[in-house]
Amino acid sequence: MTERLIVIGGGGAGTAAATVARRLNPDMKVTLFTEFPDIAYSPCGIPFVHGGEIPKFEDLFLSTVERYVADGLDMRMETTVTDVDLARGTVTARNTHEGFDKLVVCTGFVWEKPDVPGANLEGLHYVKDIRAAMEFDKRLDDMRRIVVIGAGPLGVEMAGNLGHRGLHVDFVDEGPWVLSEVLDPDVAEPVHESLTERGVTLRLGTRVEGFSGDGTRVRAVATSGGELECDAVIVCLRKLPSSGLAEVAGLELGTTGGIVVDERMQTSAANVWAAGDVVEVPHGLSMLPIRGLTGSHAYAQGRTAAFNATGHDLVYDPVWVPWGMVAGEYTIGGFSIGEMLATAMGVPYVLAKGVGVSRARYYPGATRTHVKLLAEPGTLRIIGCQIHGGEGVKERADFLAFAAKRGATLADLAWMENIYSPPIGALFEPIAIAAQNGLAELRDRERAAGREAVVTA
């Protein structure tokens, strides 16, 4: 009898799980349920269409529903799964029960709503669904003032892009600098400058107390720093796992509210896997579960779930979370933890800092690249970094996350090989400069303390 796999969710993890499973086992019947009318587009590109960097929303689509159907997938668009019965092996959608042999849950996330008066007024916009974004974009032409709430990655991208579009943007967050839960204050400074140059007014250390309007539509935001007039509010608070369906079905949830999975993406129930923003996976340094990672993590997890659901054996590693983003005219990035998270968690670290250039210093377009490495005292294994500058931030963050996963030390990095080619790489690699500086400082400190220098590099 033909086995049937049901995938709930049509985001990065869900589409990966469905397409990879079908490819691995062409005899398997694979059905994908999604509550949305569209599939296979990049929601992460939405802020850049609003800002005019990408000409149109249609450019964000990577494939079509018809293409997936042609590949043999049973696509159930605009169909919300309302119940999962694990004992019977059925899901319920549109009051119809459908049986499964294997199930992959990829229900993603929802944005946290502000818990203040007026949060149900029209004009509070959440960036997720591309059709809602298209409608919002049409109305943006008639707007002048926008308030963006929440200085997380999406908030920074939205504020920067709307400022670039010529709108007056008030950017409100309780934190002392943007991205304050991950970014170190010294790295935040150039980001602030860049956002301000784009016409964004930073209102940090400020709490949102309510929304008021003309009956139905929001017209102002009340904050601890006074009232801000606006034509719309963009809410970019925390991403919450959309795990309600899984919880009711009896799947185990973890300390982040996400579904608990093992390294094969298997949930607490037999024949049920989960992937993407709805699951929690361990951080490689602390083994503490985290969630809400990037689209590339979601895809890889969906792929892992597909392999194991089709009888193969594939293990997903604890994550070291390389990240990067454009903030105004500036690029920031890193992996794992910075000083901010290390201090909050109480993780001991030594620092290694350096500044280099992205190309030969005489070559047009060369930009300064600041690298800050965090290493474990004693072993000097790298445990985190933050980088800021122009080009090459992403590649360095990716490389360092991989190097950390393999146990690389400051000494390894200090003597790493690098490409020297004037248009693309300088003689001295900024990562190596930072590591050498860090080792030199440690050596000086040991000598000053009267100990024989252990660090000889």
């Binding site: 309780e174 934190g175 002392p176 600098w177 304050s180 170190d184 204050p185 010294d186 935040a188 400074e189 400058e193 940090l204 250390g205 400020t206 709490r207 601890s224 185990e252 949830l253 973890g254 300390t255 982040t256 509210g257 999975v261 093992d262 390294e263 298997q266 929690e280 996976v281 361990p282 490689g284 602390s286 083994m287 503490l288 579960p289 590693d317 604890p318 000083e339 901010m340 998270l341 201090t343 909050a344 968690m345 109480g346 993780v347 001991p348 000097l380 294994r381 950390a404 996963k405 393999r406 146990g407 690389a408 030390t409 400051l410 000494a411 390894d412 003597w415 660090v455 000889t456 590099a457």
Partner: protein, 94 residues
């Protein structure tokens, strides 16, 4: 069981929030362009009791406590991360 899971979730959420606030206050002090984080009246116990206590405990002990409270992931293989001996340049006289 579900109540215990909710309690652990709440514990993690609150502790992270106040530890991050404390870290932001200390690291941001004197850095240009930063302000004081917003601090409401709530969370007095977290701020005055939990945060100072947590900060006194060494990381290795905290890690063990997190393991025994089952706050860390199970069903996963921790990364080996076995570094080689760091490369060292030869002595100057060779």
């Amino acid at each position: 069981m579900r109540r215990l899971a909710r309690l652990k979730r709440r514990l993690r959420e609150r502790s992270e929030h106040y530890l991050l606030l404390d870290a932001a206050r200390r690291l941001g002090r004197g850095v240009p362009g930063t302000v004081t984080p917003f601090e409401g009246r709530e969370g007095l116990l977290w701020r005055r009791l939990f945060v100072p206590l947590y900060r006194r405990v060494p990381w290795a002990f905290k890690r063990r406590a997190m393991d025994s409270l089952k706050m860390t992931a199970s069903g996963w293989t921790p990364p080996e991360r076995r570094p080689r001996q760091p490369w060292r340049p030869p002595p100057r006289n060779q």
